[in-house]
Amino acid sequence: AQSVTQLDSQVPVFEEAPVELRCNYSSSVSVYLFWYVQYPNQGLQLLLKYLSGSTLVKGINGFEAEFNKSQTSFHLRKPSVHISDTAEYFCAVIARSKAAGNKLTFGGGTRVLVKP
């Protein structure tokens, strides 16, 4: 089984400041890693995903994340946030197993509030 922990439930940040959202996971098998964003009253949208290769993954809207296998982490960063980045951010994993289907296991979410 997999579990995902997002260490911060809420992150307030000023506009144009950097932000880092922390994500740690636990799994008995290798996993694929994802970050999704949910804008207010909307569905989820994929920001980026790590499948293999370079541990630094670049996504949409200037976000990037780094996979650290030894620390079982997949932290998300953006060097300069905008008001429009105010949203809920979800880290998620899928087990690297066809038998597992495409089952996303989500963390509890981190609410980012960008202040002017």
């Binding site: 694929y32 909307q42 569905g43 989820l44 899928i94 690297r96 289907g101 495409n102 509890g108 979410g109």
Partner: protein, 115 residues
């Protein structure tokens, strides 16, 4: 030209009623999913269908029954609604049936409130 659409967007109903939520995707994907997001924003998968075949069935009360008439549609029927069923229900779809971390595309959600 919405990729994944859900109806209704809002649903307010009384305890004990039976209701359905519909989902349609026009992406040509083979796999569709239902997720539940509770009041604390926690998201959990409920079901997954691939080409009308059930492939993921999490621990969900049997009052919840998914139905897939074709691979572009996955509906969720809920019998004898309870207060705890109040949540946002998201439909999603992806190409393939898993094993390759296919991106899932989410619908806008159906906000269900049981009174």
């Amino acid at each position: 030209d919405t990729a994944v659409s859900q109806t209704p967007k809002y649903l307010v109903t009384q305890m004990g009623n039976d209701k359905s939520i519909k989902c349609e995707q026009n992406l040509g994907h083979d796999t569709m999913y239902w997720y539940k997001q509770d009041s604390k924003k926690f998201l959990k998968i409920m079901f997954s269908y691939n080409n009308k075949e059930l492939i993921i069935n999490e621990t969900v009360p049997n009052r919840f029954s998914p139905k897939s008439p074709d691979k572009a549609h996955l509906n969720l029927h809920i019998n004898s609604l309870e207060l705890g069923d109040s949540a946002v229900y998201f439909c999603a779809s992806s190409q393939g049936r898993g094993g390759h971390a296919e991106t899932q595309y989410f619908g806008p959600g159906t906000r269900l409130l049981v009174l």
